[in-house]
């Protein structure tokens, strides 16, 4: 197990450098960041030259990348154009997005898996059909539609929630945005669990467990569910990264100042330091989530062993 973890960690290094280099190049080919900085009028040439030197934009791209990566390892992610260090932006944005992601994941686990188990055990019954249709509806409606609709109904028409989240983004205000963010994945989790449960319900070991006279609850939770969760855990694990990076739409609708908001602003203003910095951290989150998923396999199914 230990050697497996080390091997995986070593594999992360080229992936990390590759992705950051790609992002760095992509941001750099989008045009001249200084040109956007001065708005509709041109910066005077002297100031533009000064700014370029200050942000290191006058050097060749490979040199910029090396300097940047060098700084990253000392914990310096550079300075955004408004004079704030990127680490400061991260310190405000990441806790909010992590909170939102956790809420979304909890919704996925609680609602998604419960519905999946219920429908998987009652295949073909009315409740199964209803949930299947409902998940199909959720999957086919884009997030921004669900988001705007809930915002309009709950926020404006019925006044149950505030249409926008306050800057501190407390948990209670994030519940609805979290549900919106989770909605599509939630539907997938339900369907995955359902299929997996339905398939394993006919497996030999379940029949054995039932024949041994184990209580139904124990059969379902300890034997059936545990073995059926492997694909679901894989999905949820990779979803952590996707939710954090893909929260742009939800964050925009509910005015949440998280990672998505900072990325959007960074791209709009072509602030390479912000964009590359945030994406770098997101890449790390993706890698870590994937590693944890792989390690969880062993916990769920002892037959899976790592050399």
């Amino acid at each position: 197990m230990g050697r497996y973890v080390i091997r995986r960690l070593l594999q992360m290094i080229p992936v990390f450098f590759g992705t950051t280099l790609l992002i760095f190049l992509m941001v750099n080919v989008m045009g001249d960041p200084i040109a956007g900085l001065c708005g509709d009028r041109q910066c005077d040439p002297a100031t533009a030259a000064q700014l370029e030197a200050e942000f290191g934009l006058d050097k060749p791209v490979w040199q910029q990348y090396l300097t940047y990566m060098g700084n990253v390892f000392t914990g310096d992610f550079g300075t955004a154009f408004n004079g704030q260090p990127v680490t400061e932006l991260m310190a405000t944005a990441f806790p909010i997005t992590i909170r939102l992601t956790i809420i979304a994941i909890v919704f996925e686990i609680v609602i998604g898996i419960s519905l999946g188990v219920v429908t998987g055990l009652r295949r073909g019954r009315p409740i199964d059909t209803t949930v299947l249709i409902l998940t199909l509806v959720v999957i086919s409606i884009p997030t921004f539609v669900t988001g705007l609709l809930l915002q309009l109904l709950l926020g404006v028409e019925w006044g149950i929630i505030k249409p926008s989240v306050s800057p501190e983004a407390p948990v209670n205000e994030l519940l609805i945005p979290g549900l919106v963010l989770a909605s599509v994945s939630l539907a997938y989790v339900t369907r995955l669990t359902r299929t997996s449960i339905a398939e394993n319900a006919r497996a030999d070991y379940v029949r054995t467990a039932v024949a041994k006279g184990l209580p139904r609850r124990r059969v379902v939770v300890r034997h059936l569910l545990r073995n059926s969760l492997i694909p679901v855990v894989t999905f949820i694990g990779t979803d952590v990264g996707a939710l954090m990076g893909g929260a742009i739409v939800t964050e925009r609708i509910f005015n949440i100042h998280g990672v998505g908001y900072q990325l959007y602003q960074g791209i709009l203003r072509q602030n390479s330091q912000t964009v590359v910095g945030f994406v770098t951290v997101l890449v790390l989150v993706f890698l870590a989530a994937n590693l944890i998923v792989d390690l969880l396999y062993a916990v769920l199914d002892p037959r899976i062993r790592y050399a």
């Binding site: 001249d32 040109a35 040439p45 100031t47 800057p167 407390p170 509910f254 959007y264 602003q265």
Partner: protein, 543 residues
């Protein structure tokens, strides 16, 4: 053993969840409209650090307008420059000015405002090493080319043209005659700065201290700013409310939704998609008034094909081929007014706005348009491509409409096409590096309500915002002549003579004047926009 492993995983997950959520306790009341006469208002994240000479966009400008007062102030209603901190500004030759400051003004930290507060601030703003984006505002002061050379390093640390006479008087020598110069001093870049700005810059940036009717109580960068009324403010434009809570919105649609849900008092940018509903939602709590912004189509004069005598005819023809009335009605829902000169209605007749100055060259006329374009040899390259940035501001819709209008006139579906560019930064870099060979969307937002500001920075030879590199000796001469006039009315009419050259040459096609739009809740009253389309915050009353 296996059970223990599971328990550990569960404990781990719970711990992660707790640490991440524990910090989210904060009070949830701070977001909405509060009590005690506090007005909550929408805001956007300022693009640059909040320094007077470094703020060149509306969002940062809003704050400066609340926390700073300069020598002059533009009347919120008429846009006219009136004395604020200045007791008098005197000159005999339009080039050497003596400025006297009123007694009794202080910064909100108690520091007295003296000539030094101004001279230090201006020297800071002009110096190349400070990277101030508005440095060019000081270009008329003698010695600017020494502290801010076009390339290389500065050879002087301070502007030679500024001299402190005593605590309340200083003199300014300009490098050329400029009779309207005192009227430019209402721009925030000319604000005085307290000593803390120079001695502890970082602390000042995290909580700017000024001398305006409001002080900054709390500033959370990127998300909100709470401004409170400054009770000892010495000016006569004291705040009529207890304070302003500015709240950053990532999307103006959300701000508008918050307003309709009663969660916000003031939105100063009604999203285009809501213009259809705004009457039903807000009734007469919707404001739509002219602002000092004009939008235009610019051409590349660095391209031979456009810089010909016949080219002027083609541009005039194109101008006449655009149905401005129809586009402003249907696409902009009358939040734009068809342009008929190169200034803005906010200047007023005395200030140099002249409706219809452009005449028939800016009026839709199908047959005359086609005739002119054909006389001029047709559109260079056979097709007009209008470049615009597609990321913000729904430019695609109107560019397509303009092209439709031109295509209709030419009877050719391919006579004009839109050329979207991904981001604003990329668009600007293509414009400034002269990579565009067709037309592009351009525009001008005034810095101060003067006709000079609408003409000189944009059309004078090699002026900083003359992106198309248009040049005309007669125009330049008239501008120089107008600047040297000591009589304001004479100066304005000379500027208008210069504008008439724009009619003949059509270096850019004027499209429409932009309005400022705002909406407010029934909790507040007396809401208005000034000529920069910024709400007049200090006059807002809370019911």
């Amino acid at each position: 053993m296996r059970g223990a492993t599971q328990a550990r995983w569960a404990a781990c997950a719970v711990a992660v969840a707790l640490t991440a959520t524990a910090c989210g306790g904060g009070d949830s009341d701070s977001g909405g409209g509060g009590a005690d006469g506090i007005v909550s208002s929408s805001w956007g994240d300022p693009q640059n650090p909040l320094e007077p000479a470094n703020t060149n966009e509306v969002q940062g400008g809003k704050v400066l307008d609340m926390v700073f007062r300069g020598l002059k102030r533009y009347d919120p209603k008429t846009g006219e420059a009136t004395d604020m901190l200045a007791e008098k500004i005197e000159t005999t030759d339009s080039q050497n000015f003596t400025i006297t400051i009123k007694d009794g003004w202080t910064f909100s930290n108690g520091e007295k405002i003296t000539s030094k507060s101004f001279v230090d601030a201006w020297n800071y703003g002009a110096a190349l090493k400070n990277n101030q984006k508005n440095a060019y505002f000081f270009q008329y002061i003698d010695g600017y080319d020494k502290v801010h050379p076009e390339s290389g390093t500065a050879s002087a640390a301070a502007l030679a043209g500024l001299k402190i006479v005593n605590d309340r008087t200083f003199t300014a020598k300009l490098s050329q005659k400029f009779s309207l110069w005192p009227d430019t001093l209402g721009y925030p870049a000319f604000a005085p700065l307290p000593q803390q700005f120079f001695t502890d810059h970082d602390a000042w940036l995290s909580k700017p201290v000024g001398n305006g009717p409001y002080t900054i109580d709390k500033y959370a960068k990127g998300s909100s700013m709470n401004l409170r009324k400054w009770d000892e403010y010495p000016g006569d434009d004291k705040a009529q409310n207890g304070g302003i809570d500015l709240k950053v919105y990532t999307d103006n649609n959300t701000a508008y939704t918050d307003l309709t849900a009663g969660n916000l008092d003031l939105v100063d940018d009604v999203p285009a998609s809501q213009l259809k509903n705004v009457k039903a939602d807000l009734g007469d709590r919707y404001i739509n008034t002219p602002a000092g912004i004009i939008q235009t189509l610019a051409f590349p004069f660095y391209e031979k094909a456009w810089d010909t005598p016949d080219g002027a005819k083609v541009r005039q023809g194109l101008s006449m081929a655009i149905n401005r009335v129809q586009i402003t009605d249907q696409i902009f829902q009358k939040t734009r007014t068809p342009a008929s000169d190169w200034t803005s209605p906010v200047l007023g007749a005395d200030g140099g706005f002249k409706e219809g100055l452009c005449g028939k060259e800016c009026t839709y006329d199908k047959t005359a348009a086609k005739k002119l374009i054909e006389e001029g040899g047709g559109i260079p390259g056979g097709q007009l491509k209008i470049s615009y940035n597609a990321d913000t501001g729904s430019h695609k819709e109107w560019v397509d409409a303009v092209c439709n209008s031109i295509n209709n006139v030419m009877g050719d579906n391919k006579a004009c096409v839109g050329g979207p560019v991904g981001t604003f930064a990329d668009f600007r870099s293509q414009v400034s590096q002269q990579k565009l060979s067709g037309a592009w969307r351009a525009g001008w937002q005034m810095d101060y309500p003067l006709i000079q500001n609408f003409l000189q920075p944009v059309y004078y030879t090699n002026a900083p915002s003359n992106d198309g590199k248009w040049s005309d000796q007669k125009f330049d001469d008239l501008v120089d002549q107008a600047n040297a006039e000591t009589d304001k009315a004479k100066a304005v009419s000379t500027f208008q003579d210069a504008e008439k050259i724009l009619v003949q040459q059509m270096p850019v096609i004027p499209l429409w004047y932009q309005n400022g739009s705002a909406g407010y809740s029934d909790r507040v009253s007396n809401v208005a926009l000034n000529s920069f389309s910024v709400p007049v915050y200090e006059e807002i009353k809370v019911k």
